[in-house]
């Protein structure tokens, strides 16, 4: 398995000026990415009157939890309680992620380790499909969903996630690193392919599962359901954010509170699994 070697060549040919320039550039880009997130955090804790201070401030003088209280109140006064949105989001994330990992790794194993006629064609289709953004097939996808009576069900969000190409691709790339001798040992012991997949391959690709969990959780957690979900009691948390954000600047504090609430889970998940994500990403390359 690929080991991440800390670059030990860094002391060679390094000028002090170069290092200074690098620090400045990293600082500028760091500010660019971090400031809006920081502004979200600060706004979430701002009392009502501080939101309207001119000019707006990047810090909060009297932090308060009012926005979070208001968030729960606003959400309770809507058609369905806040807990329902939370349940919908969690249900879709968990079922979507677990299903994708199982289905994608089941398909990735033969694509990485077996040889058969359709393999090359399937691999090429998958690399090609990485290019497409799902929005492009939005209309025919809607037609397909409505024919299958999936509109306005959880499955309209879950099933497309099960076939996300990036997940299958990363899983397949990672599986090619498993030594063949390990698989042959299983075969000699009389295990069939399914058993080899479950008992030998899956435990060896733990970093890849964690990576797919991160990527899929992040995608499912952030999606709004678009025009596939109408029923208020099936809607997910980002929809709530949209409804609150539509209230404009007066609701900026509550909007920030919802946003903060939404951004914490994927960030925590990423912190936990960062080293696995990096280990998987080493093998992500496409040979041109």
């Amino acid at each position: 398995m690929a080991k991440l070697n800390a670059a030990s060549h860094k002391k060679v040919n390094r000028s002090v000026y170069g290092n200074a320039v690098i620090f400045v550039i990293l600082f500028i880009f760091g500010m660019f990415t971090a400031l809006p997130l920081w502004y979200t955090v600060v706004s979430a804790f701002k009392p009502f009157d501080e939101i309207f201070i001119f000019p707006p401030r990047l810090y909060v003088r009297r932090p308060t939890l009012d926005n979070f209280v208001l968030m729960f109140q606003l959400a309770t006064n809507m058609w369905v309680p806040f807990s329902r949105y939370l349940f919908n989001s969690l249900f879709i994330c968990v079922v979507g992620t677990v299903g994708h990992i199982l289905i994608a790794s089941l398909a990735a194993y033969p694509l990485a380790k077996h040889s058969f006629a359709a393999k090359k064609a399937i691999n090429e289709i998958i690399v090609l499909a990485l290019l497409f953004t799902p929005q492009v097939t939005y209309i025919p996808l809607y037609i397909v969903m409505s024919r299958l009576h999936l509109i306005d069900t959880y499955w309209a969000l879950i099933l497309p996630a099960w076939q996300m190409t990036l997940g299958l691709y990363l899983m397949k790339q990672f599986m090619t690193q498993i030594p063949d001798s390990l698989l042959e040992a299983g075969k000699i012991d009389g295990a069939n392919e399914l058993l080899i997949w479950w008992k030998i391959v899956m435990p060896n690709v733990k970093p890849a599962w964690l990576t797919l969990t991160i990527l899929l959780f992040q995608q499912l957690w952030n999606q709004t359901g678009g025009s596939f979900i109408f029923s208020e009691n099936l809607k997910v948390l980002p929809t709530l954010l949209q409804q609150i954000a539509a209230g404009g600047i007066a609701r900026a504090g509550v909007g920030a509170a919802v946003a903060l609430f939404l951004m914490i889970p994927p960030i925590i998940l990423f912190i936990i699994s960062q080293s696995s994500v990096m280990e998987t990403m080493v093998s992500a390359g496409i040979k041109g």
């Binding site: 001119f54 492009v136 397909v144 076939q163 949209q242 951004m263 960030i267 496409i286």
Partner: protein, 297 residues
């Protein structure tokens, strides 16, 4: 029949792939293929599609002035934010690679966090809010650069640029992670050999040693970037509306959503989608050809 024999012989492999391929066929292949078919028809979802040949494409390129405008916007996004965020990902990953693992992990998290936070980009609506309480307006007025607040998101002169900034902010995704990982996995001996052979500074090291080794990651990053920059739409709709004022920041995808979900001209919308596919494929081919030249293999 080679394939049927092959399926019989490798039954286990095909069975394991079947569930994934079934879903992939239903939710990706069929939509792509029906998009191509529908683009040659008139279809309003109520009556059956009526074959019209190339009429949709002719209308798209010759009669639809707005399409030319959204095409221009899309190319601005694709050829400005695309390469910019690609180089940004690469340069930041390169800089980060020199730090020790702990600091590297923190910096990776900081740069990747906008992607993780997803919908939080709506905070930019408050940063660029049109009144004096918006962060940018507030500070520019405080500094005396502006007298009156600018309505950033409604003024056709600015909205495209605001969306470019937000899109750049959001754009360090899977490609960036692949670059960071790629830099950690380079062959150390090559750097030592390079130093002996007279590599003078980090730029020479980058061009002669690093980039050729990272060609596969660079290709992966490019593929992910092409999809992202041609697909710009969520941010446009969330910040500028659907459509934006005078279509000043609309892209091919938002235009397609406009035709598909508001006007129900599915045939026309599908033709728009097909044009986008082709643009993505061509860009991919060009980038693959360029990267192949630098590859070590």
């Amino acid at each position: 029949m080679g394939l049927i024999e092959d399926i019989k012989k490798n039954k286990a492999s095909y069975l394991m792939i079947a569930p994934y391929m079934l879903l992939f066929t239903i939710f990706t292949l069929i939509p792509v293929i029906s998009s191509i078919f529908l683009s040659f028809t008139n279809y309003n979802m109520l009556q059956p599609p009526k074959w019209v040949g190339w009429a949709n494409y002719i209308r798209l390129f010759l009669a639809d002035k707005i399409f030319i405008k959204v095409l221009r916007n899309t190319f601005i996004f694709a050829f400005l934010t695309g390469p910019l965020s690609y180089f940004m990902s690469f340069i930041l990953a390169w800089f980060i690679s020199e730090f020790n693992p702990k600091i590297r992990a923190i910096l990776t998290l900081i740069f990747y966090s906008p992607s993780l936070a997803g919908n939080v980009f709506f905070i930019w609506a408050f940063i660029f809010s049109g009144d004096a309480y918006g962060l940018i307006n507030g500070w520019l007025m405080r500094l005396g650069i502006l007298k009156e607040p600018i309505n950033w998101l409604q003024d056709p002169n600015y909205v495209l640029w605001v969306i470019i900034i937000v899109q750049l902010w959001l754009s360090l995704g899977a490609g960036f992670l692949a670059f960071v990982a790629g830099f950690q996995n380079l062959d150390k001996e090559l750097f030592e050999a390079g130093a002996i052979d007279g590599i003078k500074n980090r730029f020479q090291e980058l061009f002669y040693i690093t980039i050729p080794q990272m060609a596969p990651q660079l290709m992966f990053g490019a593929v992910m970037q092409i999809g992202a920059s041609f697909g710009v739409s969520t941010v446009v709709i969330a910040l500028g509306g659907l459509p934006t004022r005078q279509y000043s920041a609309d892209t091919v995808v938002t235009y397609l959503i406009d035709y598909g979900t508001v006007r129900f001209e599915m045939g026309y919308a599908s033709a728009i989608a097909v044009v986008l596919f082709i643009a993505m494929l061509l860009t991919n081919k060009v980038i693959a050809a360029i990267l192949k030249r630098y590859s070590t293999e």
